[in-house]
Symmetry: D3
Subunit: 138 residues, 6 copies
């Protein structure tokens, strides 16, 4: 049984800081180190969205990449790019914006809008040259 | 139980267009957009071939990478590189050369020639900075 | 005296072949090898456009990158991307589309449209993992 | 006459926004677009520092790369990484933090601390997959 | 059920040769080719370590990346970087240092030191532009 | 006046150590640090060779890339790849194999064999993710 998956790569840049208001300043400084820096810092997140589905024999495609471009643009890049993740993103309200949590929230948004027959397989976010996160949900 | 896989990366460049002769011109233009461009366009496809097998205790290898180089060269690069995928490739006759279909055809060719005990795991093709396809069959 | 340059990176994919009609088939086959392949082949060209100018003290910019995006899009990507370089590109009529000649033609187009005070410094085109061309004109 | 140059590559991530207080809100919004976003955004800047000097015949080196690592760390990465460029960086006070201006400020700091006989040649900063800046001063 | 994985990327450089003392010189030359070269050769191995675990709701993390940095540094980079894999690495004594075997030994070391609740998923080693190995054990 | 340059990218892997026999062990350890490691270490050097020349109007090329491939293969890759730079390379006898010196020796070899009308412009060697050397001679 064949499995065909598409991988869509893009980038968004945003500011954020890691700070859990349920804990005091000392705990936050010790836990998050420089990521707790009070005036925010930022990243270019390299994002890979992986989806799976049957290949339509008429088009030879799982999903037109241009369709996937639009979904990623509308659901992820438009709300996150050039934003402050602690302040300006409705679907991140109350979420500690670690790359782990960010990946889970992006999963949630994309899973709901994929066309029937196309399944979300993985969200990958690279936050720096040495650190990335991969998220999936079954 | 350990699993050891080899990943072999290479590149081929070819011309092609997407056009399904079972449908009319308007359908093809609407479905494939610029990829339906009449005089072809092209890509450098970055290809990754992933295989799995037991490590031979004498050689410490699943398969000599030079052996894998030769198989990939003979079965994929030689017939596809610097070719027109719509016209010149026998095993693509009648195939709509989307990256999805291309990956499936490459899988078919390689699966048949791998030495006993070595199993094909995945064929990955990157067609542009933002779009790739991964194919596997169990 | 400071010099500040911007580098703009993008990608276009096109089909082409190398064939000089002033010479016979044998000469073309011997000279261009697989690049003379009759039914075209293609590439994703990774393009870098480098421009230089004074930094405007009000904006802190040589030129807004979004402005540069638009010029590159209109003058280079729109006419070349998903096209056949031997057939469909008015400004390549009669030009043998080697990466060297392609870079010179792209230079010509961009040099004419850059805003006053911004100078084109170099056009770089990577045609494969191992081969690129850099072009400049003083 | 030979010229030998070293290129040192590293990365820092920071938050910032582009806003010139000498102009009103409408001018800033029109000039800087999404980069004027009020609550900051951020980048991973990929930085390349290029220096030139004679090769010491005893060590075969222009400058020990570990020495260069320390200078880059102390003068650039330590003050900029995980910081807000509009608020927390003494040497950026009053500077509009475009990548052009950032490169000039980094040049200034490094040029002053290089050992005798080693000359700064260029500072390059990549702010996104498609946009970079190169700065030099003679 | 969600799965969150971290991927940690780093690089080490070392010398080695492939030679199995249980076989004669001719067998070794025929089997390992240039990798049997008597005075060693070397690589920069690009290493990716993938781990999986539950996201701690207080920290939003599977494991602090700085913690993972320290484990990778102590268990892999410190003993392997700038070393001769045939001579100087205690845990490689008697091991033919193919990339396959290297990945298995790195797995062994890391699997033993990960904190409770964090599971090693895969060790990936890229030895050249075209060849990599992925290892996992369940 | 136009200038057209070709850039040829390849990779070789070799073992080496840095040790200057004119100095004692303590000096060598202090000067070269881990690169003085007694049993060698190694790298994959990413090499870029840049040449310049007039574009031949018949071929549209400065030099056929396949010709350049052969020169690089014969003069650089064949003698260096999978070798020990301290022991096995005739043209490195008595040379301390820092990346600076390596680049100068590669320049010397290539400058002598380029066809008339083609000028060597630069040799670039990347020894790790963060460190490279560029060499040129006028």
């Amino acid at each position: 049984m064949p499995s065909t998956r598409l991988v869509h790569r893009s980038e968004f840049c945003a500011a954020f800081r890691l700070n859990n208001p349920d804990f005091d300043e000392a705990w936050n400084a010790a836990t998050f180190g420089v990521c707790n820096s009070p005036h925010f810092h930022g990243h270019n997140w390299q994002m890979e969205i992986e989806v799976e589905g049957a290949v339509d024999p008429d088009t030879g495609m799982v999903l037109n990449f241009l369709h996937l471009d639009k979904l990623v643009q509308a659901e992820v890049l438009q709300p996150l790019d050039h934003k402050n993740l602690n302040i300006e993103v409705p679907f991140l309200q109350g979420v500690l914006p670690t790359t782990e949590n960010l990946a889970a929230c992006i999963w949630q948004r994309l899973a709901e809008v994929l066309p029937e027959g196309v399944r979300l397989v993985e969200v990958r976010l690279q936050e720096s040259a040495s650190h990335s996160v991969a998220y999936q949900k079954s």
